[in-house]
Amino acid sequence: MHTIALVGNPNSGKTTLFNAITGSNQHVGNWPGVTVEKKEGFFTYKDEKYTLVDLPGSYTLGAFSEDEIVARDFVLKGNPDVVINVIDATNIKRNLYLTIQLLEMGANVVLALNMIDEAKSKKINIDIKRLSERLNVPIVETSASKKIGVDELLKVTVESIGRKTKPLEISYGKYIDQEIVNIQKLLENKDFLYPKRWMAIKILENDREIISLVSSDSEIKAYIDKLREEDKIFELDIVDKRYDYINNITRELIKEPENVLTTTDKFDKVLTSYIFGVPIFALIMATVFQLTFKIGQDFLGGYVESFIGYIATLVENLLISINAPELLVSFISEGFFGGVGAVLVFVPLIVVLYFFLAILEDTGYMARAAYVMDSLMRKVGLQGKSFISMIVGFGCNVPGIMSTRTLENKKDRMIAILINPFMSCGARLPVYMVFIGAFFPKNGGIVLFLIYALGITMALIMAKVFSKTLFKGEETHFIMELPPYRLPSMNSVFRDMWEKVWEFLKRAGTVIFLVVTILWVLSMLPAGVEPYSKESLLGRIGSFLAPIFTPAGFGTWQASVSLFAGIAAKEAIVGTLGMLYSPMDLTEALRMNFTTLSAISYMVMVLLYTPCAATIATVKRETNSAKWALFMAIYTFLLGYIMAVLVYQIGSLFI
């Protein structure tokens, strides 16, 4: 099967195109660095099947960050038959910088001139025919989000398979050209995968990977060392020459009106302003959570709850009427409906939260949030860009941690990974909701906002601590593109929302179901014991752990067991509490077993303690170290515990 890769600058619309072609539901957002890993999809054209690979965005083949390395590696080693280079028609010259490198490599390129709708409305005029001739590549105009030009692109791409290409040769000036020839000579007769001239240029560009590839040859290595000694590494001159080349070939072909004040500029005046920037950000986040609460819980939540209750009674009656075994009835009504059902009740809430987060991601505001938070982040030793991973973490910490791949600096990245779990994810929301429902029915919005604010505060404090202790190092710089504001397309908002809601449902059906089942069995054993009692196996385990939590105010065996279940997945806390207290109503049960103060300390614990297994696994993968994963699991537990104890003990002095 032929493989086709999507390559291009960040935010040029690769994933939108990928979804349009393959019908996938990959995440799209209006900020640079949404996609951080390779994704495969398939499409059929004229009865033949093709593989399409979506890659992270990159500005250059000389990768800086982890996500760029993923893209570069695929282009270099993945042997794509055709590379669809997606370029942003409103910013052609900068986008062509990557194109030039692809052409120098001799890749079989098809240019997708995307965002053509925006270029047209900005009155940018592009002579596509002549540009295509000068670059010697096919160019297709597309508008991925409007699905315009997609068929044409596929046609041209498929036709291009097997097209003979000659690497583009541009002159880097007499001096560098001579050096290129010298190195090319050394590379002659050696067996390397890539065009020799391209490799020579990469060596002069100080490309670490190519240099280490050729360094196996002692003669070449000696030559490179000599170049270094003589200070003949021409990194920056090569960039200059490439831009000269781009300016030359695009001359007269691109006409754009002098910059007029755009809507984006007007918005930015307010949203990035010194005085209003941060307050507006706080207001936006507060509104999102408040609306989530109002619509998801108060407005829609009740319906789902009664619906699930209705089904539960129906099934239970049915089982009893057919004389089903008592154990089965207990499992279905207490384990399944009491446990999994307690989680499912929160689907509307999750839907609304993800709906708003998807809108936020699609507007282009994320990059501005990073901008306004830069100075605060700088104070704790990070930089604005790290903040994006934190906002993504509000949805789920796994993609939050993944998105740190875009951080060029190792120190920034490690700290951003370690503090991400304090950004309270969607799965923890149900836990707060049941406690809010039981103890703060009137002030839910405020309590919720305070919990999130505490999470952010702890994240910033820990960032400061880590940057002073574990990861000292140079100051890093904020470099970030601010994309134009775009009206979120409802299509993509609903798709992103649905993807995450589906994840939630899947977890309810798998992990949560599994946890609840295991705990149900443990609470029925040993045979003959009073179910869900202290004497059951589960009760005994819980009672053994409970004293640890007595200083924090929730030293009951049910609360302890739930916390540990929550490490499998955070919703399991609600599922477990729901099952252990059933058939009693969960809200009633909480009121009997917690005080207002211990409810607060429990929520603090849930906010801060050990993240779920999926998150820990992600930390291990992204840091490439089991030690960091273990460190994460332990330090968060201790921090959560200490904070919960402090809240409870200090609170007890006043109440």
């Binding site: 500005y59 250059t60 000389g62 800086f64 942003d88 409103t90 910013n91 052609i92 010259k93 900068r94 910088y97 940018i124 990194e235 920056l236 960039v239 200059d240 831009y243 754009e256 910059n259 984006t264 500029d265 930015d268 990035t272 010194y274 920037g277 990059a367 901008y371 306004v372 830069d374 100075s375 700088r378 930089q383 604005g384 060029e408 140079e474 100051e475 710089h477 904020f478 470099i479 970030m480 593109e481 601010l482 994309p483 134009p484």
Partner: protein
């Protein structure tokens, strides 16, 4: 003259970037190479916002101070 001294809405040409090689190369590749013309859109507090070719780029102040430029009159 450095980038942070340029007033909003003024244009300038990049002359030189004195900073560690990593950041410098990144900026070059983003279009802030020698001789490139950029427009300063915002320069008061916090990162500077530039217009480079067709896009807006935000640069931390510390970094912007390391970018030597030359004002362009139009």
């Amino acid at each position: 003259m450095v980038l942070t001294e340029i007033k909003p809405n003024c244009k300038c040409k990049i002359k030189n970037i004195s900073k560690g090689q990593m950041a410098t190369k990144r900026l070059y590749e983003l279009g802030l190479n020698t001789g490139a013309e950029v427009k300063v859109e915002k320069n008061d507090f916090g990162p500077v916002i530039l217009r480079v070719y067709g896009n807006k780029l935000a640069l931390g102040r510390g970094l912007a101070e390391q970018i030597e430029v030359e004002e362009v009159n139009n």
